[in-house]
C-alpha cells in the first residue's frame, strides 16, 4: 500500500500511522475494498471526467498538463483520493502553473521562490540548484510550511511579517486568483480592528487543494488590500460546496449555517471573457446572498460608504523621478496620490432589532443597581387619609381633656376617701426615721419618666426635708443622678432651714447594675469612695462613719423599672441588711411591685400621680399632684372610653354579615 500523505503538511507518513508524524494531524485512513455504491459513484465520476473539458486550462505556453498515472490501486481508491492525486499531478507538472508568465520572467529568483507554494516536499531531483538555494534560505520557509507549529516568538513574527510583505504589481492580484479555478490563499494582512496592529493572517496551507473556509470568510470580512479590485464588498465569494471540497472531513466540522451555504454543485464555467471579473476563472453567477444568523448579521459593520473604486492602471511605467529614476524594468511605483484608501468604516454601532432592544431594556431594569437609600421620613405616610383624620381627631380630644382642667381649675375630680395601705405605710415609715442617720436615695429611671417621678417623689422628699433627715444620693443609671439632684434642689427650695451642702451628699453614678448594688450593700464606702466632684466620702460629717448598708436610716428606690426594685430587694435580703425599704415608682411599675409589698419585702411604696395625691392629702400639703389630678382623671377616663369605642367598632367591622350572605345565597 502506498504511504499516506498528510493533508496539512503534505508529508508522507507510514500507512499504519494515524496521526501525521510531523504535524500531528489525523491522517486519512487507508481505504479498504470499495463497496458497491462507491464503485457506481466512481464509474459516474469517470464518465463525467471523460466527458468534461479539461478543468485545468493549459497555462499559457507552459508544459502540457500531465494526468497523473493511475496507480493500480486507483480503481479501489475513493473518488476524493483520486481527485487529490489528479490535482497533485496537475500541480507537479507546472510549479508555476497558474501564474502569469510575466511574473515569472521578471521576478527575481528570491521572490519567485517566496511566492512558490511550499508544497514541494518531495525533493525534485532535477532541481538541485534550487535545492541549494533553498538550503541557504533561512529556516523561515519551514515555519511557513508547517502550519500548526507553536506560535513563533514576537521577533520571528516581526521578521516573517517584513518578509511576507510582497508588493505585487498591480493586476497581479487578479491573476493570482484566477486560472486554476481555485482561490489561492490570499496574502492579506488582517487588521485587527481593536488594536490596529497588523499581523499576518494565519497562513493557509500553500496547498491549493485545501481551502480553509474560515479564512475565506474572514478574508471576505476583513480584507484590506492595496490592489484588490472589489466591485462590491458584500459580494460573497463562492464558497465551495461540501462536495467540491476534497475532504468531506472538514465539511462535517463546519457550523450548520456554513455547511448549508451552497448545496448545489456548480460546475465552474470557463468565462474567460471578462477579464475584469473578479477571480477570473470563477464563473460569473448571481451569488445568492448568504443567510447569516441574526447575531452575525447584526454584528456586521454597517457599510458607511462604498470602497471607492480603485482603477488600476496596467500600463508599464518607466520611473522618471525618485530613487529609481531612469531605470527600466523597475517595479512601477504605486501612485498613491490618486488612490483614496478608505477602509471599511468599522462602526461600533450595533444594529439592534426592536425585539432585542426590548429584551435589553428588560435586563436593564432587572439588574437595576440597589436603590440608593432615599431620605425617607420616619412617618412615610402609607396611612390612608381616614387614618390621618382619626389620628388628628384623637390627638385633639386628648389634648383638650388634658389642657381644659389646667386652664379651668374649677373642674373637680372624684377624690378618694380611703387611702391605700402602701401609701399609709410609707408615710408611717418616713415619720419614724431617726434624723441623724442619712437616708440613701437610689434612682434608676429614664429622663422620659422624670416628669411623672418628679411629681410622685416631691411629697416624700419634702417630708424628709421638713424632718431634717440627711440624704445620700446615688443612681444606677447615668442620667438618673443629675435628675435626682434637680428634684432634691426643688424639694429643698421650699425650706430655707435645710442646709443643702451639709445635709445632701451626691455619691454620683454607681456603675455595674446588680453587681454595683451588691457591692454597695456589703461595703458602701469601698464602692462609692468619692463624691461627684471627687471629694472623699470618708471626710463627710454625717457619712464618714458608714461601714455597711445598715448604717443608713432607710433605702428609698426611685425607679420606673420594676426589675430594679426587685434587684434591690434581692440584694438587701441577701445582704441581711436590716433597714426599711421604700419605693417611689412610676404607674407602669406598680402592678409588678405590689407582690413585694404584699410579701413584706418592701415596707411601702408610692406609685405615680395617684400615690402622690394620697401622700399629699395625708401630709395635708397640696402639691402638683393635687393641682393636676382632675386633668389626670379626666384624660384617663377619656382614653378608656376611646379604647372601648375602638374595640366595639373593630368587633362590628370584623363581625360576619349573615344577613347579606342570606340575600346573596
Amino acid at each position: 500500500m502506498a504511504d499516506i500523505r498528510c493533508l496539512i503538511c503534505n508529508r508522507v507518513n507510514d500507512s499504519s500511522a494515524e496521526h501525521c508524524w510531523y504535524c500531528n494531524t489525523i491522517l486519512p485512513k487507508p481505504t479498504g475494498p470499495l463497496t458497491q455504491k462507491e464503485r457506481e459513484k466512481l464509474a459516474n465520476l469517470k464518465k463525467k471526467i471523460a466527458g468534461a473539458p479539461n478543468p485545468d486550462p493549459e497555462p499559457h505556453g507552459d508544459a502540457p498538463q500531465k494526468t497523473p498515472p493511475e496507480s493500480p490501486a486507483e480503481e479501489e481508491v475513493p473518488d476524493w483520493l483520486a481527485r487529490i492525486r489528479r490535482l497533485k499531478q496537475a500541480e507537479d507538472q507546472g510549479p508555476t502553473s497558474g501564474k502569469p508568465d510575466w511574473i515569472e520572467e521578471e521576478q527575481p529568483d528570491w521572490l519567485a521562490k517566496l511566492s512558490q507554494p511550499a508544497a514541494e516536499d518531495t525533493p525534485n531531483p532535477h532541481d538541485a540548484a534550487n535545492r541549494v538555494a533553498e538550503s541557504k534560505k533561512p529556516a523561515l520557509d519551514e515555519s511557513l510550511r508547517i502550519r500548526n507549529l507553536p506560535r513563533e516568538t514576537d521577533e520571528e513574527q516581526e521578521f516573517i511579517t517584513n518578509l511576507l510583505k510582497p508588493t505585487p504589481p498591480i493586476g497581479e492580484e487578479d491573476s493570482a486568483n484566477s486560472s486554476n479555478g481555485q482561490l489561492e490563499p490570499l496574502q492579506e494582512d488582517r487588521v485587527d480592528d481593536q488594536s490596529g496592529q497588523e499581523f499576518p493572517a494565519p497562513e493557509g496551507p500553500n496547498d491549493e487543494d485545501f481551502l480553509d473556509v474560515e479564512d475565506l470568510l474572514s478574508d471576505k470580512e476583513n480584507v484590506r488590500s492595496d490592489q484588490k479590485t472589489v466591485q462590491e464588498s458584500e459580494q460573497v465569494l463562492s464558497v465551495p460546496t461540501g462536495k467540491d471540497l476534497p475532504f468531506p472531513l472538514f465539511v462535517d466540522n463546519l457550523p450548520d449555517w456554513l455547511s448549508t451555504e451552497e448545496t448545489e454543485t456548480k460546475q465552474p464555467q470557463d468565462t474567460g471573457d471578462n477579464e475584469d471579473d473578479f477571480a477570473g476563472e470563477i464563473p460569473e453567477r448571481k451569488i445568492e446572498k448568504g443567510r447569516l444568523p441574526a447575531w452575525l448579521q447584526s454584528l456586521r459593520p454597517g457599510v458607511t460608504g462604498s470602497i471607492e473604486k480603485i482603477s488600476s492602471e496596467t500600463a508599464q511605467v518607466r520611473e522618471d523621478d525618485g530613487v529609481l529614476a531612469g531605470i527600466a524594468g523597475t517595479l512601477p511605483g504605486t501612485d498613491l496620490s490618486g488612490r483614496v484608501l478608505k477602509t471599511g468604516d468599522f462602526t461600533q454601532e450595533l444594529r439592534v432589532s426592536a425585539a432585542q432592544q426590548k429584551n435589553a431594556e428588560l435586563f436593564q431594569s432587572l439588574l437595576q443597581p440597589t436603590r440608593e437609600p432615599k431620605a425617607v421620613s420616619a412617618d412615610q405616610n402609607t396611612a390612608a387619609p381616614s387614618e390621618k383624620l382619626l389620628r388628628l381627631f384623637i390627638t385633639i380630644l386628648i389634648l383638650l381633656a388634658v389642657i381644659t382642667p389646667i386652664l379651668a381649675p374649677g373642674i373637680s375630680a372624684i377624690i378618694p376617701v380611703l387611702f391605700p395601705t402602701e401609701v399609709v405605710n410609707t408615710l408611717g415609715t418616713v415619720q419614724t426615721l431617726p434624723t441623724e442617720k442619712p437616708v440613701l436615695v437610689s434612682a434608676h429611671f429614664e429622663a422620659g419618666l422624670a416628669g411623672e417621678l418628679n411629681w410622685a417623689s416631691q411629697p416624700v422628699l419634702k417630708h424628709l426635708v421638713t424632718r431634717g433627715v440627711p440624704l445620700a444620693l446615688t443612681s444606677t443609671n447615668v442620667v438618673g443622678f443629675a435628675i435626682l439632684q434637680d428634684m432634691v434642689t426643688q424639694a429643698i427650695s421650699g425650706d430655707p432651714a435645710y442646709a443643702k451642702d451639709k445635709k445632701v451628699m451626691d455619691l454620683g453614678y454607681l456603675p455595674g447594675g446588680a453587681i454595683g448594688m451588691g457591692a454597695l450593700v456589703n461595703d458602701p464606702l469601698g464602692t462609692l469612695p468619692f463624691t461627684t466632684d471627687l471629694q472623699p466620702v470618708r471626710e463627710h460629717p454625717s457619712l464618714g462613719s458608714l461601714n455597711s448598708l445598715s448604717d443608713f436610716g432607710a433605702l428609698i428606690i426611685l425607679t420606673d423599672n420594676p426589675e430594679f426594685a426587685r434587684t434591690w430587694v434581692e440584694q438587701v435580703d441577701g445582704g441581711e441588711a436590716d433597714l426599711p425599704l421604700l419605693a417611689v415608682v412610676s404607674a407602669q411599675a406598680a402592678p409588678l411591685l405590689h407582690p413585694y409589698f404584699a410579701s413584706g419585702q418592701i415596707n411601702g411604696y408610692v406609685a405615680g400621680m395617684s400615690g402622690a395625691l394620697y401622700y399629699e392629702m395625708l401630709t395635708m400639703r397640696a402639691g402638683s399632684a393635687t393641682a393636676r389630678f382632675s386633668a389626670y382623671q379626666l384624660s384617663l377616663l377619656l382614653v378608656a372610653v376611646l379604647i372601648f369605642a375602638g374595640g366595639v367598632v373593630s368587633l362590628i367591622l370584623a363581625a360576619p354579615r349573615p344577613a347579606k350572605k342570606k340575600e346573596a345565597g
Binding site: L407, M609, Y632
Partner: protein
C-alpha cells in the same frame, strides 16, 4: 423678667418640647433635629460621666495609689479600644469573653436566687397559716386559690413540649383548661401593665402640657 441663665434654659426647654410635640402632626425636620440633639447630648453626657466615674475613679486613681492589680483592667480596656478598628477588632475578644462570662454568671446567679426562689417564696408567703390570716377567711381562701391557679396556669402555658397526636385527636382536657386559663391570666396581667404604661404616658403628657402653659403664662405676664 431679668434675663438670666435660668430663663435661657427655660426657653430652650420650651422650644425643644414644641419640636417633639410637632411629631403628632407627622415626621418633620424639627422632630429629627430634636432626635439628633438627644442622641448627641446623651452620648456626650455618658462619655463625661464614664470618664470621671469609671476611668478616673476605678483605673487612674488606684494606679496612682500603686495598685498593681489595676494593670489587668487597664490592659483589657486597651484591648477593648482595638474594637474600633475592623482589622484589629479580633484582638479585643478576650475582654469581651470576660465580660460575657461574668455577665452570664451574674444573670444565672441573680435569676436562681433572686427571681426563681424569690417568686416561689413570694407565692408561698401569700398562704400564711390560715389562723393568723387577717381579713375575711373566705376572701383569703378565694384569693389564695386565684393566685395559685393563676401562677400555675401561666407557667404551664409556656410548656414547649408537644405530644404526638393522631389525626382528629384533641388535646387532653387538663391541658386545654390550663392553656385557656394561662391565656386569661397573661392577658389580664399584660392589660394591667399596659394600663400602667398608658397612665405614666398620660401623666407625662399632663406634665409637659402644664409646663408649656405655665411657661407661656409667665412670658405673657
Amino acid at each position: 423678667m431679668r434675663i438670666n441663665s435660668e430663663v435661657i434654659w427655660l426657653v430652650i426647654s420650651f422650644i425643644l418640647t414644641l419640636m417633639v410635640f410637632s411629631y403628632l402632626l407627622g415626621d418633620n425636620a424639627f422632630f429629627r433635629f430634636a432626635s439628633g440633639l438627644l442622641i448627641g447630648v446623651a452620648a456626650g453626657y455618658f462619655t463625661v460621666v464614664i470618664i470621671y466615674q469609671v476611668l478616673i475613679t476605678r483605673l487612674v486613681v488606684p494606679l496612682m495609689q500603686g495598685s498593681t492589680l489595676t494593670l489587668v483592667p487597664l490592659f483589657l480596656s486597651g484591648l477593648l479600644l482595638l474594637k474600633l478598628s475592623p482589622r484589629l477588632s479580633q484582638l479585643g475578644s478576650p475582654a469581651m469573653a470576660l465580660l460575657v462570662g461574668v455577665g452570664a454568671a451574674v444573670a444565672v446567679g441573680g435569676t436562681v436566687l433572686g427571681t426563681l426562689f424569690g417568686q416561689v417564696k413570694g407565692a408561698l408567703s401569700f398562704f400564711d397559716p390560715i389562723a393568723g390570716a387577717s381579713g375575711s377567711m373566705a376572701l383569703r381562701i378565694v384569693e389564695g386559690i386565684i393566685f395559685l391557679v393563676g401562677t400555675l396556669a401561666t407557667l404551664a402555658y409556656f410548656h414547649f413540649g408537644a405530644r404526638e397526636r393522631r389525626k382528629g385527636e384533641g388535646r387532653r382536657r387538663l391541658a386545654t383548661i390550663s392553656v385557656v386559663l394561662g391565656k386569661v391570666f397573661i392577658a389580664i396581667t399584660l392589660g394591667a401593665v399596659f394600663a400602667g404604661v398608658l397612665t405614666a404616658a398620660i401623666t407625662a403628657l399632663i406634665e409637659r402640657s402644664d409646663f408649656i402653659i405655665t411657661t407661656i403664662m409667665s412670658m405673657v405676664r
